[in-house]
Structure formats: structure tokens, C-alpha cells
């Protein structure tokens, strides 16, 4: 399952295939080279953790993967089609149907119920009847364990619950790729493990490919592969030797508390 990053594995089976991806920010006199030619492949079902110090380019890389930003140079093939040259209209469709996002700050609409928050991507997915939107959104919320919180507003939910609403929102369009930018950055240890458990469950049970940005080494170990960035380039890329299992750890924490 785990790819050997950097070369040779591009093929129709890759979810992500990037070649010499470069991003340069032009700040007038200063040119910031955020990415200096990154090439790697991600196969279906992989759970990749991107790590590295701040300024290493991991977040920039993540945004390019999410079609939230365009590369300065290089090629990005998502699910077999080249998205580096798409129009903004087509990019919006790709973001809507093929990618799910989870952010550090949850980014839920305030004063809006969990159900409506999860429905949001469906509103932009063409003509879906209101009843079907409702069903799919409540299904997604049940799958993250919030079936009894459909009508709650974000301020009535804990941080972990809010992040699970965000995960449900990312899942509601059945994307092939789930991108998470520091998803546990605003959560305490136990909630972090619970959220990672949810990611692991989605990865294993549904086979969803996950790419996650984190600067915490222990969070990275819940994945199958860790790619470390440094100065806009891939420093290291390898499989996780001893993958942590969030389900077991949560059970252990419960025992300790009891």
C-alpha cells in the first residue's frame, strides 16, 4: 500500500500524482519559494501524514492538492486527470465532488445547525432534492457518531464534536480524497486521539485516501506513510513502522479514567 515517494510509481492507480510541483509567492521585490519541485504519488487507500517545521512548504503543498491554489509550475494529476490547467469553474467542481476538507479551525458556519453545515457541499453539487440532501447529511453525521446532534449549532458542541461535524461535511459528497490541515491542532489529547480514530476507521473501512498535515510526530504515526518537508522539498518519505491504533488507545484511556 505505501508508496516509495519521489519517483517511478505514477500510474492510473494513483489518486495523486505530482511532478516537479513548484509554488513561488511574488511579494514585490521578494520571491518566496514555498515549493521547489515536489514529485510524489499517493496510491488509493493510503493514509499520508505531511510533517515538517513551519515554512517547510507542507501547507502550501496541501493547498495545491486541494485545488485551493494553483501551482506556479509543475503537474498535478488527480484521479487520472490533470487539474493543474483547469478553469476555476472546473476546479470548483473538483473540490466539490472529489475532495473533502477538514480544517484546524473547523470552519463551521455559526448559528447554523450541524445538519445544515453538513448539507453545504450538496448545495453546490447540482440539483439534489432537499429531502435527499437531508438524508445524506444526517447519514454522514451518524457515521461520525453525531446522529443525536443534528439540530445543534456549533456553539452548542464541544471542539471534538465540531471537528466531527466538519469531517461529516467533508464526507457527504463521497470524495475519493480527504485532506486534513492540522485537524487536531485545536483539540486536547484525548479528543485528538478520538478524531484520529475516526480518520483511521474511514481509511480502513471505506478505503478513503487521506492526506493529513501535522507538526506533531505522534499524530503522524496514525497514518501509513509519513512525508517530511523541509525548505520546500521532500526531505524524507517512508512507511510508518509501528502504526498506532486509536481505538486501542482510547479504550486504554477510558480504563485509566475509570
Amino acid at each position: 500500500m505505501s508508496g516509495q515517494g519521489g519517483g517511478g510509481l505514477q500510474g492510473p492507480r494513483s489518486v495523486i500524482a505530482v511532478r516537479e510541483l513548484t509554488k513561488t509567492y511574488d511579494l514585490g521585490e521578494l520571491q518566496v519559494h514555498a515549493l521547489r519541485g515536489v514529485s510524489l504519488d499517493v496510491a488509493p487507500g493510503e493514509f499520508v501524514a505531511l510533517t515538517g517545521p513551519s515554512g517547510s512548504g507542507k501547507s502550501t503543498f496541501m493547498h495545491l492538492l486541494g485545488c485551493l491554489d494553483r501551482p506556479t509550475a509543475g503537474q498535478y494529476v488527480l484521479n487520472g486527470s490533470d487539474v493543474s490547467t483547469l478553469s476555476s469553474r472546473d476546479l470548483a467542481r473538483v473540490r466539490n465532488t472529489e475532495i473533502g476538507f477538514v480544517f484546524q479551525g473547523f470552519n463551521l458556519l455559526s448559528r447554523t445547525s450541524a445538519l445544515e453545515n453538513v448539507e453545504l457541499p450538496l448545495l453546490y453539487a447540482g440539483k439534489i432534492p432537499a429531502s435527499e440532501r437531508r438524508d445524506r447529511a444526517s447519514e454522514a453525521l451518524k457515521s461520525v457518531g453525531l446522529g443525536d446532534r443534528l439540530g445543534h449549532h456549533p456553539n452548542q458542541l464541544s471542539g471534538g464534536q465540531q471537528q466531527r461535524v466538519a469531517i461529516a461535511r467533508a464526507l457527504v459528497n463521497n470524495p475519493t480524497l480527504l485532506l486534513a490541515d492540522e485537524p487536531t491542532g485545536n483539540l486536547d489529547t484525548r479528543t485528538s486521539i478520538e478524531v484520529m480514530g475516526l480518520f483511521q476507521k474511514l481509511n480502513i473501512e471505506r478505503g478513503i485516501t487521506i492526506v493529513l498535515v501535522t507538526h506533531e510526530a505522534d499524530i503522524a504515526e496514525y497514518g501509513t506513510r509519513v512525508i517530511a518537508f523541509r525548505d520546500g522539498m521532500v526531505k524524507s518519505d517512508g512507511a510508518v513502522a509501528h502504526r498506532r491504533d486509536a481505538v486501542i488507545e482510547v479504550a486504554r484511556l477510558r480504563e485509566q479514567a475509570a
Partner: protein, 406 residues
């Protein structure tokens, strides 16, 4: 996103900031209501003038004696004494299409009765005047052709004069009033006509045969005006021209010299008055429109604030698949909903205020469908115009910049 959903999302967004929405809409409400009320008052004034002109008779041509004098000294209007009752008779006989004609001359004098006295306008006229001005008598009757021919000392009182001399509602027919120390018999009282368009009280008058005014009161041979009433369907311009030509011949005016009289139709006078009131209406509506524009700027301001405030929301929407056109429509619809809701409430308020003005201040105010349609249209246009810039600003945001906006 479908238009219906866009609409629902816009409504939710507006409801989330209810207070701000209400205050922003208030700008529109006041603007639209002001336009409606101003136009209603203006239209009401115009139409009441029209109505008065109609009641005075719309098929009337007025001939007045012109200004006289030679060289540098010019006398006032009516100073010329060339206009006579014979001119009126000639007009009646030589020009077709004339139904009634009344030569007249006026003087201001004291009218004395046993109980009181009153300074008023004494109008000399022919028996036709009652028909020309469709002015029926309340008591008694108008004077007749024979009274005119014989220059009898009979008077018909306007209701105000009757009220002053004999008391309100009294029938004074048969009583004697004294004018310039001569006795005149009251033969009738006219129904009340109210104020004329220019504000003078039409009921504050005494009418008598013009021959009586000429011979008994003023000792003159001329008249100062001739009121002509045309048959229905007779073009008044042609009639005016014919009258002018006839009078020039009769007064032996050489080509190139000025007329010594003035021929005007009531329609002309009406149009002068109407244009005055419509100028006022435009002025008032213009001032009101300024407040509408200020309301629009208020909407733009709030929409700009809203776009800035919701930058992260916009980023999120873009991240989950909103196209730039979706974001554009969302904010545009929000602004249109805001201005149209304000417009609708403003129209209702405008109706209410117009009605209140009519009841309390006794002004006639007419809310016209065109004013309602126009202000609603302008409200929608303002929503689009002032909403477009903020909406486009939102739509042009780069997803990642929007998401990371602090």
C-alpha cells in the same frame, strides 16, 4: 446552486444579523416612502388644480383689455378703453362656434346692508356668465338679459358676501344693499365654489349686469374683459386667433402694431399652474431620491462590511465547491432582498403617510401606481447596482486567501 437555494441562504444570512438588516433596510424604507409621499402630494395638487379648472370651464377663452400707453410710459393691464360690449356682440355674431359670451368689468367697493358692510369685488357681467361658469344660484336667480339691457340695479351675491352682510345660510332675496349710495335689490345668492386655483375666494364677490357697473357705478363705456365659452369640440387655438383678428380689424390696428388686448384660453392658464406644481413635484421627488441614493450607499456599505466579515465563510464555501458565480449571486441576492424588502415596506409606509397627510392636513395626496412601480423598480436597481461591487469583491477572492483571512 439553484436560485431558490441562493434566496434561502440570503434570507438566513440577513436573519443572522437582524438588527443590522433592519437598520440598513430603514435607509431604503425612508427613501422609498419619501418619494411616494412627495409624488403623491404633488400629483394631488396637480389634480386638484385640474379639477378647479374643469369646474371653471375648460372651453373658455378670455379676452382682456391690453396695456396701453405710448412711448416710454406704459400703463397697467386693462388701462386701455378700446374694448367694448360691441366687440363682444361682434364676436358672437361673426365667429362661429360660440355658445356663451359675457363682457365684463370689475371694481372694488364697499357694499352696505342694514346689518353690516363689506368691501368686495363687484363684477359686471352678462346673463351668460352663470352658464359659462356653471354656477347655479342657491337662492333666487341670476339676473337676465333684460336686466342687462335696462341696466337694472340688481345684484347677485357670492356666499361669502351674503354671510358677511346677512349671516350664514340666510336667504336675503328681495333685500336692499347700498353700493356707492345707491340701492340695489338682491335677486339671488350663488352656491359656494370655494377657492380658485390661485387662492382667491371665488365666493367673495357681488355680480351685477355689466351695463349697471358701466352706467351707475363707474360712468364708463368700455369693458375690461370678455369671457367667451365655445361649443364643444371647437378648437380653442383657432377660436383665439379668429377673435384676435376680428378685434384687430375692429380696433383698426395697423399691421406691425401690438394688440391692445390679450386673448388667452383657460387651458393655457391651467398648464402654467400645472407646470408650476409639477416643477415642485420634481423638486420634492428629487430631494427624496437623494435619500434613496443615500439608502443605497448604506446597503453597499453594509454589504462590504458583510463580505469582509464573512471572508472565511466565503473561503469555506469555495473550498466545498462553490463557484465564483455562486458567491456573486449569494451576495447580490442578499443586497436585492434587502433593498426590495425595504422598498416594499417603504411603499406601505408611503401609502400610510399619504393617507395621514390627506386626513390631518386636508391636502389632497394621490399615490399613483406609476410612482409605486417606479420606486419599487428603483429599489431593485439600487440593490443590483450597490450590491454588485461588494458581491464581485467576494466572488473574486482566492479560496486559500479567504480561508486564511484573520
Amino acid at each position: 446552486m439553484s436560485l431558490l437555494m441562493t434566496f434561502v441562504v440570503a434570507l438566513k444570512a440577513l436573519r443572522r444579523n437582524a438588527m443590522r438588516t433592519a437598520l440598513t433596510a430603514l435607509g431604503m424604507i425612508i427613501g422609498v416612502a419619501a418619494v411616494i409621499v412627495m409624488v403623491a402630494i404633488g400629483t394631488g395638487a396637480s389634480s386638484s388644480i385640474q379639477k378647479q379648472i374643469q369646474s371653471a370651464g375648460s372651453n373658455i377663452v378670455m379676452v382682456t383689455a391690453g396695456s396701453g400707453g405710448f412711448g416710454p410710459v406704459r400703463q397697467g393691464q386693462g388701462a386701455v378703453t378700446t374694448l367694448t360690449a360691441d366687440d363682444a356682440e361682434a364676436i358672437r355674431q361673426e365667429i362661429p362656434g360660440i355658445r356663451y359670451i359675457s363682457p365684463g368689468l370689475n371694481t372694488r367697493t364697499q357694499v352696505v346692508a342694514t346689518a353690516g358692510n363689506w368691501n368686495t369685488q363687484v363684477q359686471g357681467a352678462s346673463a351668460d356668465l352663470a352658464a359659462i361658469r356653471s354656477w347655479p344660484a342657491q337662492f333666487g336667480s341670476f339676473f337676465t338679459e333684460e336686466d342687462v339691457t335696462a341696466a337694472r340695479k340688481v345684484v347677485v351675491l357670492g356666499s361669502v358676501v351674503r354671510d358677511q352682510l346677512f349671516g350664514a345660510g340666510v336667504d336675503p332675496t328681495g333685500e336692499i344693499v347700498r353700493i356707492k349710495n345707491q340701492p340695489f335689490q338682491v335677486i339671488g345668492v350663488l352656491t359656494s365654489k370655494g377657492q380658485a386655483a390661485m387662492g382667491q375666494d371665488q365666493d367673495d364677490t357681488v355680480l351685477m349686469p355689466f351695463t349697471t357697473v358701466q352706467k351707475k357705478l363707474m360712468g364708463v363705456q368700455h369693458v375690461t374683459n370678455i369671457t367667451v365659452s365655445a361649443e364643444n369640440g371647437v378648437p380653442l387655438d383657432t377660436l383665439s386667433d379668429q377673435i384676435a383678428a376680428l378685434l384687430r380689424t375692429r380696433h383698426k390696428l395697423q399691421p406691425g402694431t401690438d394688440d391692445d388686448f390679450l386673448v388667452r384660453t383657460l387651458e393655457e392658464m391651467a398648464s402654467v399652474l400645472t407646470s408650476t406644481t409639477s416643477t415642485m413635484t420634481y423638486l420634492l421627488a428629487g430631494i427624496a431620491a437623494v435619500s434613496l441614493i443615500v439608502g443605497g450607499i448604506g446597503i453597499m456599505n453594509i454589504m462590504l462590511v458583510s463580505v469582509t466579515e464573512r471572508t472565511r465563510e466565503i473561503g469555506l464555501r469555495l473550498a466545498v465547491g462553490a463557484r465564483d458565480v455562486d458567491v456573486l449571486m449569494q451576495f447580490l441576492v442578499e443586497s436585492i432582498v434587502l433593498s426590495l424588502a425595504g422598498g416594499a415596506i417603504g411603499i406601505a409606509l408611503g401609502f400610510g403617510i399619504s393617507y395621514g397627510v390627506q386626513r390631518v392636513m386636508q391636502w389632497s395626496a394621490m399615490v399613483t401606481p406609476s410612482a409605486v412601480a417606479m420606486s419599487f423598480g428603483v429599489a431593485a436597481a439600487i440593490g443590483v447596482f450597490f450590491g454588485f461591487y461588494p458581491a464581485r469583491k467576494a466572488a473574486r477572492l482566492n479560496p486559500i486567501d479567504a480561508l486564511r483571512y484573520e
